[in-house]
Symmetry: C2
Subunit: 237 residues, 2 copies
Amino acid sequence: MNLVLFEPGELDAPLPRGDVRARHIVEVLRLGVGATIEAGVIDGVVGVATLTEVGAAALRLSFEPGAEPPPLPDITLVVGLPRPPSARDVLRDATTLGVRAIHFVTPQLGDPNYATSSLWKTGEWRRQLIQGAGQARCTRLPAVTWGRRLATVLAESPATERLALHNDEAAAPLSRWRRADGGSGVLVAIGPERGWGPRDLVALSEGGCSLWHLGRRVLRVELAVAAALTLVGAARG
Amino acid sequence: MNLVLFEPGELDAPLPRGDVRARHIVEVLRLGVGATIEAGVIDGVVGVATLTEVGAAALRLSFEPGAEPPPLPDITLVVGLPRPPSARDVLRDATTLGVRAIHFVTPQLGDPNYATSSLWKTGEWRRQLIQGAGQARCTRLPAVTWGRRLATVLAESPATERLALHNDEAAAPLSRWRRADGGSGVLVAIGPERGWGPRDLVALSEGGCSLWHLGRRVLRVELAVAAALTLVGAARG
């Protein structure tokens, strides 16, 4: 937790001792009254929180607001819905690396049951975003959807530059991709473990995506996401 | 398991049903006699294994050897020894991305107890390499050391290009790094969670490392390793 994040309003209320952030402050950082931490309001400012009270049931913090962090990079990540442990890592790591939206679509060769996992039914998916943003010292969370069709997500996206990862002779190395002049937003689509199916490839083509690859070594979905976002971020400058 | 890896000689012997690879073949892939899988010999050839017997206690495979995979990229990864769960991910993911060696050094701001974890005392560290290599469809494993001094590792490395990640005004964006003509091997050094300490920075400087950064967003060690290896791999072409 490089930056401890709070929902709007939460910093004015007592923080129960059982809360993961209270435990981090008291048990990991071992802070006492008067100590300060870097804190932020989700989708708001970064600032400094001073610990003003350590009670038996709750902590109290006094927050001094600072500046808003810069906007998130205009990158939209589209991922073929992977099994829940992979989705969890993608939610956290893509948020740390910095994207404006993550859409987990239902691919042809995927398992639709993945969309009904507890990751999505409880608020767990959002806790992963908060963890990823706090790691990056950022307050901003990406917009997230899951279980929609690839064609729908592509049709609704405003991104003018669209890349899909696919291991195929027609694909070019993603390390050679360069941003077009005047491009407004990049969409990167990464297949599920078993890759994009023929129907997905039609949707990607009709949705304006060009095909790129990450080399001959086959990466897990989580690692492909990290590598692709790193290269796209580097090419955006 | 994109490629199921075996130690030299292991393919000629019965494979006990309790072995993780036997369980993968029978319980996950649900293969029967006559079915084939892609298999490889660690640090040797890739080939095709045919399931010839499914016994109550063991499987038998018949292996048709093929070609050796290409050599690993001449990249040496140096990491400030992180907590064991992070080290586990680094072992697996750096192997998937492709490096020739991984050295986990004891940094100034690290916890020396991390070197005595069961990850290192049992063979668990090597199982992570095998998992990472199988994912990449490669038989080659990197050389691995842990608990040595940073200065020692730098003194012994033959790499002519040496980069250290450090968030500092003196550092340049790693995305701008380009390989020198005639360079023979790249070393990339990544600090522990709390960063390189002053003594580490002296060792890095005396060891010929230039300083680079991955942007203003702070990444977990595992994610910094993935991002750095992606950018260095891309710049090597």
